[in-house]
């Protein structure tokens, strides 16, 4: 017995964190969906979900209940085992990626020395969930949609990986903790040192998660309805959860590698120490707004839920204010706040991009990936390598990085101009059948 306890003790905190992640993530993903709907409505001059709970706050819970009690339909002649397994693979890959992510200096399940590589590896496992799901549905269109989705994902995975390599070059390590530490030590977020790498990763991660403008395989107005067609009810909810969890994972990777992780903006400049008061203040303001609006709700139950939400925000504000009483907890609690704020910003920009731009056609998407993104990411890695060598031979790092980034930008402009020229010469349609 004591041997068992002794065996488990070093693993206690990681187990607690894992349980928290597995329990919280579905709820969090549900609220990210609500957030997306509200952001979409805001950009489209309307209100979004308003009925279920005050301002639609209970919408995710209603959706989850609905999906759980739906009839479980499996298409005829579908491969039962694979049909069951495909969404499970997707969501397992998405959740597994969280084990290497550091949501703050304290909240991390495992600080792997190959952290980033592990996350990339596990994300590439998630592709199987899509391809097997499309195949096992026993429908031509599902299969086509799945194959297209997969082709898109593996094309942009290369670009994303190379963009990440650029950041890892600057950090000098694959471990998430050391990457954040390197940004703190350098005094600058890597987005300023390698802006093109960040941009490349942003675009590649949108394509990885199959979001607009790269969502042709999923779009309803296209002929092929996508790999999720035959999935309904809870199985579909699992796919959906995997998609949104993936979004949060790529946002976390970008925040860790490019946006400084859990460091406060200007973490080393004492002038900006007033920013330390931002976390509790923000939650206080939100709580105040909830309490202000609660009595104005039309129904009593809505007022109660709103007040409850306000109470929750007050609790969070108190948690944020804890570091002022116990300075030791500052890194953990405020670190988590800043990290999640950056993840939220990245996810918001995903949504913003989705509702602004039309969709790419599939061949245009693949052309963009192979003719622009991959060459540019290779050049980016080269350039950053050159910058590091220049730094070692005595140049000021800022000057070296400026020079190499300018060179990469020139290459990018040249690539775009080349693509335009090619399109102008041959026309977008390369062959017109006579008839």
């Amino acid at each position: 017995m004591s041997a068992l306890i002794e065996f488990f003790t070093p693993h206690l905190w990681p187990i607690v964190f894992s349980v928290i992640i597995v329990a919280v993530l579905p709820l969090l993903a549900g609220y990210v969906v609500l957030l997306e709907r509200k952001v979409m409505a805001d950009m489209q001059a309307r209100l979004g979900p308003m009925r279920v709970g005050p301002h639609g706050l209970l919408q995710p819970i209603a959706d989850a209940v609905k999906l759980l009690i739906k009839e479980d339909i499996i298409p005829e002649n579908a491969d039962q085992a694979v049909f069951w397994m495909a969404p499970v693979i997707s969501v397992t890959a998405a959740l597994l990626a969280f084990s290497a992510l550091a949501i703050g200096p304290v909240f991390q399940i495992a600080d792997l020395n190959i952290g980033l590589l592990f996350i990339v590896a596990v994300s590439s496992m998630g592709i199987f969930g899509i391809i097997l799901g499309g195949w096992s549905s026993n429908s031509h269109y599902s299969l086509l949609g799945a194959l297209r989705s997969t082709a898109q994902m593996i094309s942009y995975e290369t670009a994303a990986g190379l963009a990440l390599v650029g950041g890892v070059l600057l950090a000098g390590s694959l471990s998430t903790r050391e990457i954040v530490q390197a940004q703190y030590d350098a005094g600058v977020w890597f987005v300023f040192a390698a802006p093109l790498g960040f941009f490349l990763y942003l675009v590649a991660s949108i394509a990885e998660t199959n979001r607009a403008p790269f969502d042709l395989p999923e779009a309803e107005s296209e002929l092929v309805a996508g790999y999720m067609t035959e999935y309904s009810g809870f199985r579909w909810a699992i796919y959906f959860l995997a998609e949104y969890a993936n979004m949060i994972v790529v946002a976390s990777i970008a925040s860790t590698l490019f946006l400084g992780g859990w460091a406060r903006p200007f973490a080393r400049t004492p002038i900006f120490n007033f920013l330390d008061f931002a976390p509790p203040l923000i939650f206080l303001v939100v709580a105040g707004y909830c309490f202000y609006r609660a009595p104005k709700q039309p129904e009593r139950i809505q007022a109660m839920v709103m007040a409850l939400f306000g109470g929750l925000c007050l609790l969070l504000a108190a948690a944020m204010a804890l570091p002022f009483v116990f300075p030791a907890s500052k890194a953990g609690i405020h670190g988590a706040f800043w990290f999640l704020a950056k993840v939220f910003l990245y996810v918001y920009s995903f949504m913003w991009i989705r509702f602004t731009f039309p969709r790419f056609r599939f061949d245009q998407l693949m052309k963009l990936g192979w003719y622009f993104m991959i060459p540019l990411s290779i050049v980016n890695v080269l350039a950053l390598g050159v910058a590091l060598v220049l730094k070692d031979t005595g140049w000021h790092p800022a000057a070296a990085l400026l020079l190499t980034n300018a060179a990469t930008l020139l290459v990018a402009v040249w690539l775009v101009a080349n693509a335009q020229k090619k399109a102008a010469i041959s026309g977008p349609v390369t062959s017109r059948a006579e008839g």
Binding site: A212, A423, V429
Partner: protein, 380 residues
């Protein structure tokens, strides 16, 4: 996917995906065919070799019904053809019957008709823009367009009581005079409208993805357009400056100055630009008209029972979709002998087969959208 052979598509081999030619069926229920349209595509892998449209799902026998209704009784039926722009349909029909009767609507009626028809053109183009952008994947413009369309529909509802199938005009003029505040509301809408058009353009015109999805897609040369009988923005997008409002002016169009926007390449992008410019021109016409609405009677001298002398007339107007024509044959009785409607959407739809050749399947929705068809008009 074995099927009976379709006339016109001989020697087709239907095999497993990706290997040889396959036939793909789009519709009749499909989010992007703008109604109940069935399109059969013959594909080589992903490229389209040929297409065939199967229509008639919305056929209601409107032209046959006309032979058994009196002239006034038939007027509400024409609204149901192009239900997106009912007022234009009504204008065409009323003017055709007035030509047959030999009466003219009084000046006040003509000007109010012009204002309402141009507002209807704006509303129709707004719906086109929203749905076309939605098909290509831009999720936001449709809400902005419908916000403006709502303003117009509010004005129309205040005027004649209905938003969609309006029956706004009567043979000989108008039934209702403009309501108090009509000019102010229309003016206020039009003054805000330029900023809104700029908003739509900002989202789409220079957008690299929009340009990539629409430039060079669905090209129709001028000669092909003329040969096929295409009219409206489809013809003007190919480069031909032809507008019935300028060529054979009707209503009060000869009093106002406006331009005819044309395109150059005849692709989807040019037709988009043409329709955006038409929005601006319609606004310009409306503003000129609203400045100076002549006073006077709203209904000309027509009796209660209409018995046009035996004869025939063809009258066409520039509807938002193209040239909408009415060919009415009268045999002297209260009911017309024949009413033949020239539906612009039906004739423009014939161009689909030429326009989709060589494109990818994903372009078909863009091309159907750019033709701006309404199935109520195609099938009648």
């Amino acid at each position: 996917m074995a099927e009976r052979p379709i006339t016109g598509f001989a020697n087709i081999e239907q095999t497993v995906l990706g290997a040889d030619e396959i036939i793909l069926n789009m519709g009749p229920q499909h989010p992007s065919t703008h109604g109940v349209l069935r399109v059969k595509l013959r594909l080589d892998g992903e490229r389209i070799l040929d297409s065939e449209c199967i229509i008639g799902y919305l056929h209601r026998g409107v032209e046959k019904i006309a032979e058994h209704r009196s002239y006034q009784q038939f007027a509400p039926y024409v609204d149901r053809m192009d239900y997106v722009a009912a007022i234009s349909n009504g204008l065409g029909y009323c003017e055709a019957v007035e030509k047959l009767l030999g009466v003219e609507a009084p000046p006040r009626a003509k000007v109010v008709r012009t204002i309402l028809t141009e507002l209807q053109r704006i509303a129709s183009h707004l719906l086109w823009l929203g749905t076309h952008a939605l098909d290509i994947g831009a999720l936001t413009p449709v809400f902005y367009c419908f916000r403006e369309r709502e303003e117009i529909l509010k004005i129309v509802e205040k005027y004649c009581g209905a938003r969609l199938t309006t029956h706004a005009f009567r043979i000989g003029g108008l039934q209702y005079d403009t309501y108090d505040g009509f000019e102010q509301e229309v003016k206020r809408f039009l003054e805000d409208f330029t900023a809104k058009i700029d908003e739509y353009e900002q989202l789409l015109t220079e957008n690299r993805i929009w340009v990539a999805r629409t430039k060079g897609i669905g090209v129709l040369t001028v000669q092909e357009a003329i040969d096929l009988g295409a009219t409206g923005p489809v013809l003007r997008g190919s480069g031909m400056k032809w507008d019935i409002r300028k060529a054979f002016p009707y209503a009060a169009y000869d009093k106002y100055e406006f331009e005819i926007p044309t395109g150059q390449n005849g692709d989807t992008y040019d037709r988009y630009l043409v329709r955006i410019q038409e929005l601006r021109q319609s606004r310009h016409i409306c503003l000129q008209a609203i400045e100076d609405i002549p006073s006077g009677p709203i209904l000309g001298k027509v009796g209660k029972v209409l018995k046009p002398p035996p004869g025939e007339v063809y009258h066409s107007i520039e509807a938002p979709k193209g040239e909408l024509g009415y060919y009415i044959v009268s045999d002297g009785t209260v009911q017309p002998y024949r009413v033949r409607i020239r539906p612009p959407s039906f004739i423009n739809l014939e161009a689909l087969s030429k326009m989709v050749r060589g494109h990818l399947v994903a372009d078909v929705v863009a091309i159907i959208g750019t033709l701006d068809i309404v199935l109520g008009e195609v099938d009648r």
